[in-house]
Symmetry: C2
Subunit: 260 residues, 2 copies
């Protein structure tokens, strides 16, 4: 029987405001068994870039990463945000280990091929080193993964945290029964964006198509669900979308994605 493994991807304000970060750390620490945290940090990177006089350029919600911006995201994601979370988890007795894709070569990628847009130093994932990740979590380490990968030739690459979480979840699904939790500010996917309580409890691919057609699900939520359904198709046991209060897998709150 496969062991349970919980992977939580957390981004947005949750990870960047001291109060909500403290709450997240507490709730994540309460999850039993092997677990991995994948975090973002885009707001902090944008704020640091501004302080350094570096302009932030986004296309379709994705950051253009030139050399100067790569320095900023490497500092902010792998340094500031990652170590804040690691030190916080250690204070809760969690054996947290901060990592990027370069550390132990856990996630290798290639620089995105230029299309209509040149995203710069952005990585598209090629391989997840599930052997070392599996060994770490079975030795009670808690990997805390920053949204950076490497190309194996010495180049760090900025990489989408949702995509990294999905890829890690899929790669570990042979060995583990993986629950992947996308954690953000809302209680789940809302049927009415103005009503915090209007959480849709379950979404199948058919529901997703309908909700997109009805414009209930729009913009930033679409790639998140695409990533989620993709992970489900690759053997991940369950995908849940919720806020920090809902991340403990025993609660099962938020929106659950189902294959059928």
């Amino acid at each position: 029987m496969r062991k349970d493994l919980t992977i939580v991807k957390v981004g947005g304000k949750v990870v960047e405001e001291p109060e909500s970060l403290a709450r997240l750390i507490k709730d994540f620490s309460s999850i039993k068994g092997p677990k991995i945290l994948v975090h973002g940090g885009g707001r902090s990177a944008t704020a640091m870039a501004t302080r350094l006089g570096i302009e932030t350029k986004m296309v379709d919600g994705r950051r253009i990463t030139d050399g100067a911006m790569l320095e900023v995201v490497t500092m902010v994601y792998a340094g500031l945000v990652n170590k804040n979370i690691v030190a916080g988890l250690q204070a809760h007795g969690q054996n947290a280990l901060g990592m990027t894709g370069a550390d132990m070569n856990i996630i290798k990628s290639h620089k995105r091929v230029k299309g209509d847009v040149d995203y710069g130093f952005v990585g598209d994932i090629d391989a997840v080193n599930h052997q070392d990740l599996s060994r770490l979590v079975l030795q009670d380490a808690v990997p805390v993964i920053a949204p950076l990968t490497h190309d194996g030739q010495g180049q760090m690459l900025n990489t989408n945290a949702d995509t990294m979480a999905s890829a890690v979840a899929a790669a570990l699904s042979n060995e583990f029964k993986v629950t992947l939790v996308f954690c953000f500010e809302k209680k789940g996917v809302l049927s009415d964006p103005n009503d915090e309580e209007s959480v849709i409890s379950k979404i199948t691919p058919d529901d997703f198509a309908r909700l997109k057609a009805e414009k209930v699900i729009t913009e930033g939520m679409i790639p998140k669900l695409d990533n989620g359904f993709d992970a489900l198709n690759k053997g991940v046991f369950q995908i849940r979308i919720t806020n920090p209060e809902g991340i403990n897998t025993e609660d099962n709150s938020g929106t659950i994605l189902l294959n059928t």
Copy 2:
């Protein structure tokens, strides 16, 4: 019989200029067997602080670390410098794993007690988690340690890299025959600072006392040698002071510290 373990501490320009860093990475990669790299990054931190309009204050060569400076050193040491080294080592087939003292709780410290000087968020080391470090190196991981520790209560602390390297070397000496290499710009301790070739090949505690009295060894070199002799007294097999070209332990070049 204890297995060999090489710990290299590298700082100064060596780690912060692309050309010398590339050389270091190549030479460090050529060291056989279990190994650990401990790095500094002070020049980069000072440069980043200046860009952010944060004033760098030093007392006796030690950085005063207020909250704003702690953010800078956390970003620069654990983010920029550490990940550059990790990605570079990975490109040489080394299973590098970037860490601070907080990661896997490998080095715990307490905030330095205020004396005449308030150093701020600076850590004095209490404990090295030699069990996890030993397990990592025996599993062929290469820890790359940034000069930061934590207090176990969620606080990151700026910590001297020489001291961290000595503490790690001492803590692992029960299990390993440890060679500790302090790597910097010079070929070793020089008897004539103006003659790069005037390397003193061996220094005993008696020699050290004499060389200090004769003002041959001064300033920044004194705490380095103090750290070195301290580590020797705690069971470290050999201490060597050299430049990147001399770090491969088979060459045995540079200055060697001896107990008698």
